[in-house]
């Protein structure tokens, strides 16, 4: 169960999880691999194969038990291991992420937003106060946060990354269109929107 799961499988499992959450909201108790496959336009056998990897016992003649399948996915992907993070850059993108529905369901706990624009400091986004960025190092230490979600404009990306590294941030989820230069003990996850778009559109 804790052997390495490929990125593609993780990605599909989170999509199944979205579907299951939706079914629960609608009060539907059972789901078939076929129903999941149809929604995602993928192969039925792929869905069954993915689900077989989980420690899932909730299978009945009328399909998987929605609640049990959902919780199997959560266990396998470690949703319960909550990870605390800060957002750096409280512009449109930072605010959108702060408001982005169900991150906490997936174990991402965003504690605060930081910005250097005096007009933004003190404002509240989704119950989180926007704080002056100079307060980040102390807050990171106090609250034991080592993940930063970087949503500043591209031209400030590298200097902000340097600042985060000094503040002992070890993981940067980079939403800027800039490749960051960081020391070896810091990991950057590039949310490469352009790359994704090109991947999607490569064949059209």
């Amino acid at each position: 169960m804790n052997s390495k799961i490929s990125e593609k499988v993780i990605n599909r499992l989170t999509l199944y999880h979205c579907i299951l959450s939706d079914y629960i909201n609608k009060g539907i108790e059972f789901i078939s691999s076929k129903q999941i496959a149809t929604l995602l336009h993928i192969d039925d056998s792929q869905v069954r194969k993915d689900i077989n990897m989980l420690n899932n016992s909730g299978k009945s003649r009328v399909g998987y038990i929605v609640k049990e399948l959902k919780s199997s996915i959560e266990k396998t992907l470690g949703f319960k291991k909550t990870k605390k993070a800060f957002i750096i850059g409280a512009g449109n993108l930072g605010s959108a992420i702060a408001n982005y529905g169900n991150f906490t369901d997936y174990g991402l706990n965003i504690l605060a937003l930081f910005d250097n624009d005096p007009a933004k400091i003190g404002k509240v986004v989704n119950n989180m106060k926007i704080q002056e960025v100079s307060q980040l190092p102390l807050a990171a230490k106090d609250e034991d946060v080592d993940i930063a979600i970087l949503t500043v404009p591209g031209k400030f990306a590298q200097s902000t990354a340097d600042f985060l590294v000094k503040a002992n941030i070890k993981y940067i989820w980079n939403f800027t269109p800039v490749v960051l230069s960081v020391p070896d003990d810091v990991q950057v996850w590039n949310e490469n929107l352009m790359g994704n778009f090109l991947q999607f559109t490569y064949n059209i």
Copy 2:
């Protein structure tokens, strides 16, 4: 050259492209595979292998010629095939994408934003006017747009997708945390932020 390039390679090539754009801005003429590899914390030989796939002639003893390598990547990934798109949902996320630096460099031409909030209609985001969503079907027809970037709140995702399908949109780049149900001739590209986050954090 036009054989299928894997998603991972496309993703890396766009990151190389970001680095090359940055080098051009800084007036640097040459780059080594080692420099690219160091920035991305990947293996040198991987970078060389990716670049060898391109139709790139600009190699010298002091490294790749930045401008030529950049244009080789653009040719291979088809940046010049411009794709027109609309953004549906002019909230924080839609506005962030409309403002997201260099999409046009990558062949994505966002023509307009649409929303149903009267307070937003007529406002301008990055030189694009926010239009009433009821005008979308005609605009899509007139301007021959079949890509929609969906950035509405999750609870309106499916109904908006239904509307887009009726308006003959064939590709939906879905930024909502909802799995959409669409006919077989419509393709949905899920920008699965939660999945990406879990992928990144799976091993920490």
